[in-house]
Structure formats: C-alpha cells, structure tokens
Subunit: 233 residues, 2 copies
C-alpha cells in the first residue's frame, strides 16, 4: 500500500507512522503549520520522518492563523483551558474545519503520487466536542475524496477502533520513543501536565500500563494526585 | 446573507462577486495562490475587492506547488495545451483536489466568521474532465462541510444552472469591467487567445452577444477564424 499520512508529530500519529512503516507500506508524511502556539510537535514530526527515511513535507498555513481564529490553539488572546476534555472550556480548542483542510491537502498529494489512501490517526477517544471527528463527517468526506479525482483515494483510519491507551500499547510494542512526540497545548519547554491533551496523554500511559517517559513541568500535579482526583484538576 | 466567496479573479468569480455584492450580501473573499504560472488573476482579485470595499485574503500554497504536480497550470515542464476543452490534452490542466482545498479553507473562514455559506462560481459548462466539478462530488463535499462544525455552513452555487455565456450577460447587466478579469493559462502580458480558457472566454462573449473588451495577443486567431473553425484551432 502507498499512503500519505497526516502527521502532526503528536503521540497518536507518531505511533501510526511506525505502525504503517513496520507494515512495509510506502509512506510520505504531511504536517501542517496552522499557526499553533508552539512548533515542538512539527520539529518532532520532521525528525521522526528523517530517522525512518520517510519523505516529509510541511504545509505552512500560519499566515491564515486569524482566519482560523477563535481557538485557544492559535489565538494568544484565549487561554489554554486546563483540565479534562469533557469540560466545556475545551471547546475553545476547536480549530475550524482543521481535519478537512489537512485531509484535502494530503489527498491532493496522494492523487499526485498515485497513492492508495490518506492515513490519519483518528481513534475511538476523539472527542464529541470536535465536530469534524464524527463518523458522519468522516463518511461524507471520504465519499467526497473518492470522487475528487479519476484516481480514487480513500481515507484510512487503522486506529479508529482503538483507545489512546491501546495506541500507547501499540507504540510500546513497536519501540516508539515517546519522548520524541509532543502533545501539550501550551508553548513551554516541557509538557505542562495540566492541559487537556497532557491529561489524556498521562491517562493513556497509565491505562496502557506503560511507563510514561514524558518530562512534565515540575508544577504538574503528580500521577497519584491525578488518579485520586479521577483525572480532574 | 453572509458569505465567503472563493474568488480567483477570473471572469466567472468576478461576476459572482458583483452579483452577490449587488444583492446586498455581506461578503469576504478568499483567493488561493497554488503556484499557478502567472499571478495576474490574483492581482485582479485583490484590486476588484478593494474597489468594492470587500475584505480579501490570499491563501499562499505556492510552497506546495510540487505536491500539486502533474498539471500544466503549475508545472513549467508541461506545455499549456492549446485548443478546445474537449480535447484530451486539456486533462493536463487538472490540479489535483483543487476545489476541495479551496472550499475547505473558505469553509474554515466561514465558520470563524459565522457566515452562512461558501459561494463559488461553478457553472453548467464546468467540464467533465474536472472530476471535482461533478455534482456527485459537490453533494458529498457539501454534506461534509455541513458536518464540519456545530455552526452549519453550506455551499452556495448561484451560477450552477448558467452557461459561461449567461455569466457574461449577467456581468454586462451588472456593469462589470471585464478587462479587470483574467482567464488565460499562459503567463503573458495579454490573453493568448489560443489556450482552452481563452477560447472559452471568447466563445462566451460571442454567444452572449456582448462585446469582448479583452486585449488578446496579436498572434491570436481572429474571431472570424475561430467561428469558421467551430472554435477549434
């Protein structure tokens, strides 16, 4: 199989990169700079591809950051919410139409390269606050992408039935170096350990019973505290 | 109605801009630089928006031009075919997944702005060689865009039942200055008058019985020659 992978440099897509690579598939990886506050995950994306010898390209949409406004991921005027994803404030982390933009660029590249599919790391824990993670959205977009060219390209979501904990397990099996992945929504040098994605990340390692090698900021609540508080701050 | 218009600076979308503007709709316009050989139409797009006081933004995807490779519109190694659209060589002008990329960016902006729709100048003459002009594609993409956010945005194609000749007529009614629109696929100072879009443009004015104010290159075949040859070179 020949695939274009939408690759953020985060935990899920890094495990997907290794998963597909270990399956012997021919890969090229697309990352997107949409003006996110930090570029750490994009640096990891480039480095991880270079290590595996996978062609990697960056789509720079940072000049459109204000068109994608209203999200705390891109707008410095909005605080990154802390706490669990279920909390309403996490709606502020929605970047409008992000998945369609990423997937349409990857699909264009897939058509150019005559690849079979666009792969991305959607998983069962993708949250209901993100409308473009819904199955109904994905099905409609898959139909549109298949019709976008005479050369048919489909969406491939091998992790869609897995939890984030399952993905950590799969990554551990594949020997993924998790320290070379980035989740945190804050722009710090280390993972803050307190924002929605940090909590998800920590919980996933805990549930997978895999040791979490991530360096969290010293102010982050301890794992024991998080567990005692049912993963709420 | 509040709309984001996908605006190339070509004839069709310039008439659409005026059509929606004259209807009193609130507009913002998005143009995309995808590495096309010439930037004339993008300059016209900016100028025409400025004249009407319409907010205009440019998405610069020119750094991805090789991802969108294989088209004569972006690849200097491929000649721009001359002659009528029906000819097979015009398949070389397909830019992979162009419509989805443009529409997904415009939809993101529409969601940010809480606009009602994304408008674009699809018309009945859009050619069967462009897979992403098919109705089936548009319907699937419209469904996906409506599901991309809790704030529903739809696709709006007011010209879908019109021919390009009808669009010229509508533009003449609206007093559009057609000299401030660009169609030609070549990168010259004037319209070449010989490439697929130039022939379409000339034919549309002829069928609309509107005088064509476009300055064509002196080497271009005369209108009489084109008519005598049934619009074939």
């Amino acid at each position: 199989m020949k695939a274009i992978i939408v690759y953020s440099g985060g935990l899920d897509s890094t495990v997907l990169l290794h998963h597909l690579f270990s399956g012997g598939h021919e890969l090229a990886a697309l990352s997107v700079n949409y003006g996110q506050r930090h570029s750490r995950e994009l640096e990891y994306a480039a480095d991880n591809c270079a290590k595996l010898g996978i062609e990697h390209r960056m789509a720079d949409l940072s000049h459109l950051v204000d068109l994608l406004g209203g999200s705390s991921l891109t707008d410095p005027g909005i605080d990154v919410p802390e706490g669990h994803y279920e909390q309403d404030t996490m709606k502020q982390t929605v970047v409008p139409n992000r998945n369609m933009i990423f997937l349409s660029l990857a699909a264009a590249w897939a058509i150019s390269k005559k690849a079979d599919c666009v792969a991305y790391a959607a998983h069962s824990g993708d949250h209901a606050i993100y409308p473009d993670c819904r199955d109904s959205f994905t099905q409609a977009l898959d139909a549109a992408i298949r019709l976008a060219d005479w050369h048919e390209v489909g969406l491939h979501r091998p992790f869609v039935g897995l939890t984030k904990g399952d993905i950590v397990k799969r990554g551990a099996e594949l020997g993924v170096d998790f320290t070379q992945t980035w989740s945190c929504y804050q722009g710090g040098k280390e993972h803050c350990g307190r924002c929605g994605t940090c909590i998800e990340r920590r919980e996933a390692f805990y549930l997978a019973q895999v040791e979490d090698p991530t360096a969290y900021a010293s102010e982050a609540p301890s794992l024991d505290t998080m567990i005692a508080n049912d993963w709420r701050l």
